[in-house]
Amino acid sequence: MSQTASIPDYDYSVAKAFTISTLVWGAIGMSVGLTIALELVFPQLNADLPWLSFNRLRPLHTNAVIFGFTLAGVFATWYYVSQRVLKVRMVLPAVGKFHVILFNLIIILAAYTLLAGHTSSKEYHELPWWLDILVVIMWLTWGVHIFAMLGARKEKTLYVSIWYYVACFIAVSMLYLINGLAIPTWFVTQTGNWWHSVSMFAGTNDAQVQWWFGHNAVAFVLTVPIIAISYYFIPKQANQPVYSYRLSLWSFWGLMFVYLWAGPHHMMYSTIPSWVQTLGMVFSLVLIIPSWGSMVNLLLTMSGKWEQLKTDPIAKFLIIGSTFYGFATLEGPIQAIKSVNAIAHFTDWIIGHVHNGTLGWVSFTIIGAIYHMVPRMWKTKLYSERLAENQFWIQTLGIVFYFSSMWIAGITQGAMWRTTDQFGSLAYSFLDTVNVMVPYWALRAVGGSLFLIGFFMFFYNIHRTIRGAAAFQAQAEAKSALDSGSAT
């Protein structure tokens, strides 16, 4: 323990609170996901209750996992990583506490409003205007903390992870504010629901702004900060530096520039101008380069240490996480090719793709990071590596079930919609194509269950680790007292 004197005494209070938030919102969000997966197999499951019906739960699922689980994980790692790479103890602890409280309050209110049907209908931006305002305050609070930490830093050169956190903050601020522009109608007439508002943009323009947001929300919530996490935790876990500084640099600026152009692939063959669609497709393909740049860089950070993957479940989560990143960032551009999109769009193949990213890449990376952080923050050791190892395999199997069933389902349905008989008439009614989906939806629910079971194992493992911390420390102290006693 004598080396600790030279490094600052870190303050993990906020990082710990966000870690627990990550676990709780992950468990809730994924359980809701499994519920709606099952509702497609057994539609009666909603008991004819509005707040249990697929349509109200789906936005709750996406919001809880994207903003509840993922963002909490991002914030947890920020409050941990920033102190360590900037070589300074957490500044403004009160701001951090306010941040974590407001964040959790927002997610609770979001869950309530979505279940009640207060929604803007815009995907991943469903929250009503008054909650949007709270979100902006919460986000700026984080911004204040970021720049306060940067101002107080002892290490002058900013590590790669920091670039990505800063990019996440700036881009999401811009996207969220512009896409959220709306007029609350109560203020115009003093009639009707006070939470109701109408979008500032209409029709095709609204679609373009929304998917500029939606695509880049995926970029700057589900990709950029997760790369930040990987760039810190993979080298730490492997105990050697990032493979190539130059590769990090070029991938970073490449990703920043290219990502924002790729949004139109969500609107292929729609009423947006066709040159915009083409541009969106080309940039989606170009996006492979910076994405793979990061992936290769992260994977090669394990060079010479591949053996570690056999025994270390944490390294497994992080490295397989980055591998899924490579997989998803190849699959996405393929789906963005116009002729492929003609079949893939509106089908479950897209849902499968999203889950390669969110289960394989986002969740695995966050799980790996939390496994790495928790023993260090609570000054203890992991409750069970074996449990983590089993969790890894169960969840990986779950993802495989998920994407393989969704591939087949998506391509089957996309193809059936356009199949014609020998007279050129449509061969299948829409209902035919729904009935064919049901077995694949059942398989998907199996995959989802496996993943969720794994998540509860994770939850339990972390819970036991934290609960065992006091006993572990007491034991360690007794041992060192004994050691020093025998030395004298």
Partner: protein, 221 residues
């Protein structure tokens, strides 16, 4: 090589901001005016249609249904003429959706009728065996919220210049007037419906959500 950026956090932030804004500006701004032009003859939503649209949004029907017919023969055969930008000019928000768990609804008014919808919302499996669409029994219990309809009509008229009250377009008006117009429209729908409770409610001056929902779907042509 760019070390100076990595040492100055504000400069880093600024460089990131500039890099990420370009794409959006180039892709969205040039066609903005063109995209907002309505096609000829497009009418703003009437009171009851607007109420139905608000329910559609409240229920996130767009989680399972698209409103965008793509220009392929397989789609125009199934759903009708492909969608045009100008048809969406009064859609705030747009409701294209992203997953067709159920069929496209952009022209549903051309091929489904009031009584079909009524049976379908009571239980989709009544008319479509094996459907996975939820039942919506609460549509038959809750009353339409004309206050919010009034608020939205006045807002889009005064702020976005949606042409209510022009030619034979629907009228705007006070909350009382909007509700009165809604009742007249509702009577047209309810005469084709079977559920007695809906007819009784209308006689008492109440419009149930189901009536507005059907008015909206019937307009989608």
């Amino acid at each position: 090589m760019f070390e100076f950026i990595e040492r100055n956090s504000l400069l880093l932030g600024l460089c990131i901001f500039i890099t990420i804004t370009i794409g959006g500006i180039v892709e969205i701004v040039p066609s903005f005016t063109q995209n907002s032009r309505p096609i000829e003859g497009l009418k703003p939503y009437s009171a009851l249609e607007m109420a139905g649209r608000q329910i559609y949004i409240r229920e996130s029907c767009n989680a399972c249904h698209s409103q965008l017919i793509r220009p392929f023969k397989s789609e125009t055969d199934r759903y009708g003429a492909y969608s045009l930008s100008g048809e969406y000019a009064y859609d705030r928000p747009f409701l294209w959706g992203s997953r067709r768990t159920g069929p496209d609804l952009h022209r549903i008014g051309n091929y489904r009728t009031t009584d079909w919808h009524e049976a379908h919302f009571i239980n989709a499996r009544n008319v479509s065996p094996g459907s996975v669409m939820p039942n919506f029994p609460w549509f038959f219990e809750d009353n339409v919220d004309f206050g919010t309809v009034h608020a939205e009509i006045i807002t889009v008229k005064t702020i976005f210049g949606v042409p209510y009250d022009q030619g034979d377009n629907p009228k705007s008006g006070s909350l009382k007037e909007i509700k009165a117009m809604g009742l007249v429209e509702a009577a047209e729908i309810v005469k084709d419906m079977k559920t007695q409770a809906i007819k009784d409610a209308l006689a008492k001056g109440e419009v149930k959500d189901i009536v507005a929902m059907i008015a909206y779907l019937n307009r989608m042509k």
